[in-house]
């Protein structure tokens, strides 16, 4: 099982803060979001920052070890 944790706006769109799913790769996670919450939610998830066990992932084919946490955040900037 993999835990998905949604933050910010995406949390409001999907309507849950976190959930457990079966997934082997980040691609599987996006497919789950698209199938469950629709294309808009999936687009939002893809357009933000995705972290696997608190570390940023930059490819959809990244494998997810069982028991991992995948977090979704928005990009921001500062100064």
């Amino acid at each position: 099982m993999v835990k998905l944790v949604y933050h910010g706006e995406l949390r409001h769109v999907v309507g849950v803060a976190e959930e457990d799913i079966d997934a082997d790769t980040i691609k599987d996670v996006f497919r789950h979001i698209s199938d469950t919450y629709g294309k808009e939610a999936c687009g939002m998830a893809k357009s933000g920052l995705v972290a696997l066990n608190e570390k940023r992932v930059t490819g959809v084919s990244v494998r997810i070890p069982a028991g991992s946490v995948v977090g979704f955040y928005s990009f921001c900037s500062g100064g």
Partner: protein, 628 residues
């Protein structure tokens, strides 16, 4: 063409005279920090102590200030840096700049020292100096309350009066934070400057300017960064991405990830602490957070403060961070240098090298400690001098996190090596903005430039340092540059192959970026709304023929005059350095490249800049830029 109106105020004698700015000076150096650096270079004798009466402080605006252009209310302070001994500029978003301009002045130059604690008033073209000794010891809020609400004020708190080396100046709830801006005013016995006026900022081509501004505001509002993320989460929205990318400074920059980051994130901030968002005058972005502290609505902490008073001292109490942020503003201290110095002192304590009454994970006494720092009480007087000074006294140079003496901002550069180069080469010391802010391209943003490679970083660093220099000097908030990353890429996301291609292309662009600086301004004879919207607005407001190329070249000129100032004051290539923790010790034991390869980047950086191997601008470069 309207030339800027400057006053020269001799505080020792109480005299005020006009200080004419020539057309050449204006067109070459624009305003704000660039014109400030040039004036300082010309007026301040080399080797002057920044806190001596002979020192000079310049407070000025850019041409955009007060015109109604987006995010254009900010003003600048230029002076000799109390922490580094080199150039200093401190930018602030309060009302003061707008009001000083309305009162008829684009800038004031302060010389000498008032015989008693004084206040300067600038009212519709008239400048007067009056006794302010009754305000001695007042905090920044109380001091500002001595004038009616709609005046613009710039004041210092107790820290400035007591010459804390990183004291800031405060306008409204905004601060001219860095480099000791409050200390230099305190050294001149200036407690406050208040301005009120009714004049309107001139715009040469109002007919074209207004529709352009409208278009620009629409563009800012439609961009995911300036139209959505910053208004929703403020700069604290960076905590999560900084943590995931390993650039969130933790335990005095020992690590780049904090296990309790969620408690201090922008999302938590928005959900649990935010009362509303707000912004500086004429800003459509409105990144400011409003929060409740002790039953009162005040400005919330920015990312820098959240990171440095949060993860960097191992604290995850966001309400407390907002509280200490408020208190630091009242006392008038830069939260970056203050928190950075405290974290260094905590590590000194941890290693048994000095006990300055502070330790990691124990925040309970810190509100009291910062009060004592502001008043330089006992041992806390040491903490009022900053990390570099502390390291010279107690040791620990390798983990005193500063560049040239100025504490680093909240980006751990070992997972953003271009940011590390920026810190090391920034003219004012460890500043992310004067450093070009490559973290946005390498680690915390949608683009994913290889964060460990030195390739392309010198070229991009120079590009963004020059751009930010010009944008700031023109009078715009630097957040308006964040739209340079195309909105379309945010839609596609960082994993999309187009985004990855753009990231790679940016690294590849290094071959074009070096010759670019020798071919300006003719190589970019256009204005680019989606990349540098500022240049066209600048042209329309001043009546100058301005292009992106000219605009960038003014930025380059500014960076070089600042460098010349530093060299004259004895800061050399040796000072383009970082503590060895960041250059020699990998942040992650299993990622050997998680260090800042500074030695590999600096020679290339100097080359791109047209400087010699000792980091000195070559005569040819100075001639090209017209720097004398």
């Amino acid at each position: 063409m309207r030339l800027p109106n400057y006053a020269y105020i001799d505080l020792s004698t109480g005299t005020v005279k006009d200080y004419p700015i020539s057309k050449e000076l204006f067109t070459q150096y624009m305003g704000g920090k660039i014109l400030g650096a040039k004036l300082l270079y010309d007026l301040l004798p080399a080797g002057t102590d920044p806190l001596a009466p002979e020192s000079i402080v310049i407070i000025n605006t850019g041409p955009a200030n007060g015109t109604g252009a987006p995010s254009s209310s900010r003003f600048n302070m230029s002076f000799k840096n109390v922490l580094t001994g080199g150039i200093a500029s401190a930018n602030c978003g309060g009302r003061f700049g707008v009001m000083m301009k309305k009162a008829g002045y684009d800038g004031i130059i302060l010389a000498g020292k008032a015989p008693i604690l004084s206040a300067i008033e600038i009212v519709d073209g008239a400048i007067s100096i009056r006794d302010a000794s009754a305000y001695a010891g007042m905090d920044s809020e109380e001091t500002q309350e001595q004038w009616v609400r709609h005046w613009g004020k710039l004041v210092i708190g107790p820290a400035g009066e007591n010459l804390v080396r990183y004291a800031c100046a405060v306008s409204g709830e905004r601060v001219a934070g860095r480099c000791g801006a409050g200390a230099v005013l305190g050294a001149k016995n200036i407690k406050a400057i208040a301005a009120y006026g009714t004049q309107k900022a001139e715009v040469q081509n109002r007919e074209k300017f207004d529709p352009y501004v409208k278009k620009w505001v629409k563009f800012l509002k439609s961009h995911p960064m300036t139209g959505k993320s910053l208004p929703l989460y403020g700069t604290a929205g960076l905590v999560s991405s900084a943590n995931a990318s390993g650039v969130l400074p933790t335990r005095n920059f020992q690590k780049g990830r904090f296990e309790h980051h969620r408690h201090i994130s922008g999302e938590t901030f928005a959900e649990q602490h935010l009362t509303r968002n707000s912004g500086c005058v004429s800003c459509p972005i409105r990144c400011e957070r409003r929060v409740m502290v002790n039953g009162k609505e005040v400005k919330g902490a920015e990312f820098e403060t959240v990171g440095l008073f949060g993860s960097n001292i191992e604290n995850h109490d966001l309400a407390w961070i907002n509280e200490i942020n408020y208190h630091a503003d009242l006392l008038g201290m830069d939260t970056i240098s203050l928190a950075g110095t405290l974290a260094f002192a905590m590590e000194l304590q941890e290693k048994g090298m000095a006990d300055l009454g502070v330790s990691f994970g124990d925040k309970d006494n810190l509100l009291d400690v910062i009060e004592k720092i502001a008043r330089r009480e006992g041992i806390y007087g040491d903490l009022a001098n900053g990390s570099k000074w502390l390291a010279e006294k107690y040791g620990g140079t390798e983990f005193a996190i500063h560049a040239k003496g100025l504490e680093l901002a909240a980006y751990e550069p070992r997972n953003s090596v271009g940011m590390g180069l920026g810190y090391a080469t920034s003219n004012r010391g460890g500043c992310h903005l004067n450093g070009g802010y490559l973290a946005l391209l390498e680690s915390i943003g949608v683009l994913t430039l290889d964060k460990h490679t030195p390739k392309g970083k010198p070229e991009l660093c120079v590009m963004f340092q020059n751009l930010m220099e010009a944008v700031s000097a023109a009078g715009f908030c630097l957040f308006t540059t964040h739209t340079a990353v195309p909105a379309g890429l945010f839609k596609l996301g960082s994993m999309h192959r187009m985004t990855k291609f753009v990231s790679k292309a940016l690294i590849g662009s290094r071959f074009l970026l070096r010759p670019l600086w020798w071919c300006l301004p003719w190589l970019l004879p256009v204005n680019l709304m989606h990349l540098i919207p500022h240049s066209k607005a600048y042209g329309l407001m001043t009546g100058q023929r301005m292009t992106a190329g000219k605009f960038l070249q003014i930025g380059e000129r500014g960076f070089n005059i600042e460098r010349m100032f530093n060299l004259r004051e004895g800061l050399t290539a040796v000072d383009d350095a970082l503590p060895t923790r960041l250059t020699d010790v990998p942040q992650e034991a299993d990622v050997p490249e998680s260090v800042v390869p500074l030695a590999a980047m600096l020679p290339r950086y100097y080359k791109v800049r047209g400087w010699d191997k000792n980091g000195v601008p070559k005569p040819r470069k100075l001639k090209q830029l017209g720097v004398r």
